[in-house]
Symmetry: D2
């Protein structure tokens, strides 16, 4: 790798920031159950601690996404949460309302035939906007579980109309400088139709909501075969891409750690973003966020590993020889154009990323540092003790 590459990687990593999800440090699982970890976060304090630790190790995660239902409590000022985050060296990032867990959301939230559910959803989201304002967040990240399980169960059209009205209302309730991110997902937990199934629906919803609404791409929320990097490119050039939820998957929304299944696919997404900036000279100001939640890997390890993989793949995207690529594309020289892209991907950027870390005063290998430090074991003991003290028992059954 030439000196130029080093410069490109450094510049790319200096600007590359990826937000961590508070729920990524808590116990999660599948419908068949959860496997509990000693060191999983018990409360918001733990989550902010863990996010802060990951940022300390990687220098790429200055913000943490919070989940209103799970992270905020009545009677506790959101400002306290912001302070606590600051104490851990991070800031509050995207605000995620929850309009799927309460029993009233059985048939949906904004799309439910139950007026009560629609009202509760609206009230919760308006509260979330207020919380966001108080903690200084600029992102309202909306994911709905709304949908139906059976053909005929409900009117797709009525639900769509109610949804459009609700999102516009949310949009208009946001303070200046806040952005509404419109996430989509083809299925799960709804298994016949999801009210926002794909980027096309998100695009229309965002357009209808207003100029501060953009599309959020969760890399696990597509049907098999979908070319995600093309969606990214089209949204970028239509000025409608707001950000990402990153994770990897082989089958459905598997929520595995980034690039664990298909690293080349993640690289191609980063490549399209770098290409956009190269072509237009614009910074699309995307919100990169992690959204993973499976539970075989220790939570902290999984998060550090994911951030490192994202850094590596972003670094690879930064060293694509874009002039050479454009030239080969212009000549319709398929083999050469592909090779230019692959040359970057096949380059082992780890040594240069390590140097960047050294330069930034962080461990050369954050994952090794984390594992060697014994902190996970220590947190496990502390948090088990805390659970005991609080009388928290963990369980659950499929049926």
């Amino acid at each position: 790798m030439k000196g130029n590459a080093e410069k490109q990687v450094y510049a790319a990593l200096d600007k590359f920031k990826i937000e961590l999800p508070s729920w990524g440090f808590a116990d999660t699982g599948t419908r068949f159950g959860k496997f509990f970890q000693d060191a999983s976060a018990v409360d918001l304090g733990d989550k902010l601690h863990d996010a802060g630790l990951v940022h300390k190790l990687t220098a790429s995660c200055p913000t943490v996404a919070v989940h209103v239902l799970w992270d905020f409590k009545a009677g506790v000022s959101p400002k306290e949460t912001a302070k606590l985050a600051k104490k851990h060296g991070i800031k509050i990032g995207a605000i995620n309302p929850n309009v799927f867990q309460d029993q009233c959301y059985k048939f949906g939230s904004f799309c439910s035939p139950w007026k009560k559910a629609r009202e509760q959803a609206m009230s919760h989201c308006l509260d979330s906007i207020k919380i966001g304002k108080e903690v200084g967040s600029t992102l309202l990240s909306m994911w709905l579980a709304d949908g139906t399980n059976y053909p005929g169960q409900d009117s797709i059209a009525n639900r769509w109309a109610m949804l459009k009205a609700a999102y516009r209302k949310l949009h208009d309730a946001m303070p200046r400088g806040m952005q509404l991110l419109v996430e989509y997902k083809p299925f799960e937990p709804a298994f016949y139709h999801t009210d926002i199934p794909d980027w096309g629906a998100s695009y229309i919803l965002a357009k209808h909501s207003g100029k501060n609404a953009k599309v959020l791409v969760d890399t696990g929320h597509h049907l098999q075969g979908c070319n995600i990097e093309q969606i990214v490119t089209l949204l970028l050039h239509e000025d409608m891409l707001g950000g990402f939820h990153f994770n990897d998957r082989k089958y459905a929304d598997d929520d595995l750690t980034i690039s664990s299944i298909d690293p080349y696919a993640v690289f191609r997404i980063f490549d399209q973003i770098e290409q956009f900036m190269f072509d237009t000279g614009k910074d699309p100001k995307l919100a990169y966020m992690v959204d993973q939640c499976h539970n075989l890997k220790p939570k902290l390890e999984a998060m550090v590993q994911t951030v490192m993989m994202a850094q590596d793949l972003y670094a690879k995207a930064a060293i694509v020889d874009r002039k050479k690529l454009a030239e080969a594309q212009k000549q319709a020289d398929v083999t050469k154009a592909e090779r230019v892209l692959r040359d970057a991907y096949e380059t082992d950027v780890r040594p240069i990323v390590e140097q960047w870390r050294k330069k930034n005063g962080i461990p050369r290998n954050p994952l090794k540092e984390l594992r060697d430090s014994g902190i996970i074991e220590q947190l496990g003991k502390e948090r088990n003790a805390k659970r005991k003290a609080l009388g928290i028992s963990r369980g659950g059954s499929f049926a």
Copy 2:
């Protein structure tokens, strides 16, 4: 079935018209080869004859979609073609340009890095608009094979920009009263990215092209699991649905006869259209078209069978008890709402459709009539003789 149902089915079938594709009467196949039929159409005359025959048997197919490259010849006035169609009791419907067969389209048409390809595509499509004008067609149906096979092969963004410009130009070149239909397809013949991969891309393209552009849904052009009836509903309510290419599929774009794999899915599409008309009182003026091209069934049989299946399923959609359905949906009575839909689907409408046919002076069982008539055998002899006279030999090899 009550008398009301009879009335509903009659009304539905009276208005239900589905266009036949001229290429559906010609020999087609897979990349592994074609299996030739004696009675397949040799020339445009044969195609119009066959389309006329299907209309005569079914009373639902007054128009035929034509394919500019295969059906029109330099030196022959399109008006002659229109006259010939009239002779067979039908009219010319959608005009389909071909911008994929010529060797210049190796890397695409409007999206090709080759200027010559882009120019030839534009010229051919402008000619197609002229032909459409001359034959009195109101539909320009655009399907592109454009795409790439390898990551990096070409700039997705540049291609998108060129595509938008080209479609707007086509839109503006159309005479008053003509509509541009923007078809999408996720893959094949391009296997990495297709320039118009899904309805979201078609929607944006159509919006950008102008008010006479709408989206065309080909039922075989979706990734596995895609909820097509939802796309139909969203497009209807956004006033952006132009029409359909109907066929069935189990795996990819298999182009099988309608409903042969999943009849309930076709019913659900028709149901959403009927629901839209019930809810809004508007007629969306959709162009229903057949687009099937596989070759194990005799061409004429396959077409008559397809039209009959479409009639049956449309009739089922017409007898859904929409008041009862709306009521059950409002009450979130999932089981009941689903049952209302299924009651219509499970009803055997064939006897009532037969009565409608009798009333319209056509055979009660058009497929049986066709098979019993011996006409396919007779056409086979005539067309084999014609091929011999014209010196046409049929062949081809995978490699």
Copy 3:
């Protein structure tokens, strides 16, 4: 429909029995949570009651599959359970061990790298065999959640070897007359590899286990596009099909009620079984079982509806004109052969099934009967009171 059809439907329904799962009456959900029903079963008594009620209404469900972990308790003799079932007019059917819920199964059961997990799984399954023996069950139905989430996580080969050894041991521990059913599933809850991913693996495992092992087909456990009826046919003709878990799905293992998404597909499975019996004169003695667990429909309604759909579709398969079909197939008359199959499918068999019900002294419309009876509301009250008395509170959170 002619008198012959009536006879065929009656004969088919007389012999068609489908087993209910005890867990199908309990609260279940997705990883995003459960929506609780008042009338969901609190304990095994409730489950047996509900299964008995469904049998009373449909006359097709004389047995109930039980789940060892959830349904049996230390200190309670399994014989008591058998008696309780008898009281509700049913018998205990398949025994389902649970080797996925305990925390020790984090990395699998028989395939876990943890010896303790493998031993606990073996011990539990041997206990299950004993329970089966005591309650007079003839089926040991094995589903494993074993698999890995990340490439490299574990040795696929070692796991396979341990699995083969374990299943053979289970096979050899079964009493005479008991059958081992080997279920497969491509993914969920494991998201990189599942130790028994498909019917090929199940076939090899069953063959290796011994002559009393056969393959179990769960209709929701296949990749998109998979032709399930072909698997059924191949297994039947290789004498290796043991039974079914029926449910429907559009995307993944959605566990919806039978035929709610693709009724024609279920019909084709039944058709292949009827065809096998017609061709060979053999009764394959298949264990038909329901396995559905989603929670928008009231549990009892969902179960009755599923049984009714299965009856209807089985009845349709029974009236296929198999001589005419064989003849058309022999002549390679594709259109005709398909039409013969479709004629049966498109026939509305509901009136004849209603007559069969009347003849059997059960309600003509069991679903309507159930809904009109008010029993679900009544059970809801009783079971809520029972929960209160037992101090059961229901909850759970995604993260």
Copy 4:
């Protein structure tokens, strides 16, 4: 990379041989048409020349798979072909009969309801065995296009029975030392059912045929999401894996160059094979073969690129630290085990592969060498002249 890695890569590449398909140098395309290349092979001589050239450049391709229908001609002794291959520095590898192109195969070959088709298929395959014997081939590679397009079209069971009988007959007709490879494919060109849809069916067929029959895995012949490396592992440990057809794909059987879409997936296959050899000490004697046939890249470039990618990925699989991996797996240390695998994958092995090439007296960058040599342009001129001389015109139309 340490010295050990160098040794491992050298040893791996010394033994890694991958066979080229003669048809990979000829014009191929999609059902929408072929894009012709000047330098594509006109006849068998050209194909052997090109295969020889690729071997000269890469040192990994000493054999070429031939296609009986396209490569052998009545009146020309197969021995002449073997001599011609020798002249080009290569040998004849697998023999591929063609039982899909002739019009008689409209409804299948060994599974056709037409006796004539079955007989012609058998006769052709027996001839192919003779040819194989004469040219010294040890592999009979069978791929069938057999299947049906419509439910009901034909008896799946009858076809399966005829297929089993035919393959056993072929097996028994093979000379000592020849192996029957049983390929499977889920769909295309058949779109409802394929007679050998998956590895389970291939396994049963091969077992039934006899001890010299094994399964062939074509990497493009699986449903979306399928874990191919697991199939490889299971077949290896059941001693039933015969070989591979390599290519890459994103959607269906796209036949793109190796690893162009998902390089990590190819690596994982090679990893499982290396793991098998490490675990058992056995050499599974697999037949690695390329089977790609798309036509945007120049044929020779595509082939050289594919071989280079296979070499790189095989080299990566060779440097996995298998002791460390086994240890981490034993400890259920998910993160570490995954990292061990990824460390090898992320290593840039290109420099060491280049050294191996240098050591073997071949160009360090075979693709660059090929492109710089001007030979493709020169062959283009020569072959165009040959076509002209022979009166060959190239064309074809979708419909």
